[in-house]
Symmetry: D2
Subunit: 114 residues, 4 copies
Amino acid sequence: MSTRDLTFRQAQDRVDAWISQFQEGYFPPLVQVARLVEELGELARALSHETGVKKPKPGEEVHSTREELGDILFVLTCLANAQGIDMADAFQETLQKFDRRDTSRWTLKEPAHE
Amino acid sequence: MSTRDLTFRQAQDRVDAWISQFQEGYFPPLVQVARLVEELGELARALSHETGVKKPKPGEEVHSTREELGDILFVLTCLANAQGIDMADAFQETLQKFDRRDTSRWTLKEPAHE
Amino acid sequence: MSTRDLTFRQAQDRVDAWISQFQEGYFPPLVQVARLVEELGELARALSHETGVKKPKPGEEVHSTREELGDILFVLTCLANAQGIDMADAFQETLQKFDRRDTSRWTLKEPAHE
Amino acid sequence: MSTRDLTFRQAQDRVDAWISQFQEGYFPPLVQVARLVEELGELARALSHETGVKKPKPGEEVHSTREELGDILFVLTCLANAQGIDMADAFQETLQKFDRRDTSRWTLKEPAHE
């Protein structure tokens, strides 16, 4: 199967298969939050470097935003699995909430004139 | 289409369609990091409440971990779109990296004996 | 005593006196990390609003950066107390580390010519 | 002067003297938030390691909670300076707020019986 068709459900199943190999299993919820903070910190560093606002320290290993985004997605999937949350459902509910709540916060583009 | 089959690609396309309605477009990268921090803060609060380690303040609105996870996923998808990152690719590269690097950090379950 | 002369040591002692009133005492370390994330999320939101990069949601309560910075400082002080860390010492060690390590990362201002 | 007597005001002045050496000056507000996230991520990692909930990756450099706490304090002081916030004032206002608001959230210790 091509990556292009990867569903959230498949991603959750793959993470579960990976974690299930190990006796340790999923981390407790607040350890997962701590991991998300770590990963978000690395994403912030990668973006700061890539957008040029901050220079790496001498000798500092530089990761890409893409890699850090993949890592956050992995940890988020672990958290979803451990808490029994369907990511696709959660995502769609958020989209619906924003549609209800936030449409008036932003400026709709004008329709093109004939 | 059922939610069950939602692919990362479709999620990215829906977010792009939603954002593209508005003149403001995507936030700049560091504003998106700031949003991710906000959302992660709300996820941390929701998990702290749900797991019972912390009581809500009097009158404090309590959101579910599921809702906050959906929100983080939305902001992460915005960031991926704005940076031109394919989430499914990034996710699979992370899985491969962990497979190479971390398998020895944890304790493999013993195979069942015959 | 005027606020102007508040030392880190006094701040740590006051937080300890406040927490010591309650049976619950200090939160466990990872709960404190979760609280720091929450507070940092609120600081990020306040700064985004004050610097004009993001509009508050309709009805959203807006706190000041100053208030959120005070809150982070409080939670950080709790963490220091719970872990037996002297904040003034930790701060001075960081200053010394940056002095050794980072002076060459930035551009020294030219001395004024005679 | 001994470290024991370091005031918040002196800490802010020292950071300002350090930053003022360089042409770059203070980072813009959202870059400082990104730095805080990075530092908080490192603090989360240090605490996870010290409290034993997570093993370091092979070859991973391990920093102490104390060092990471000093780093956060430094970045927080930069942010306070750049935004013109007096840390001691902000801290005391937070203490007063918690005194008003949160005293009833927790269980007061019983006074000792005669």
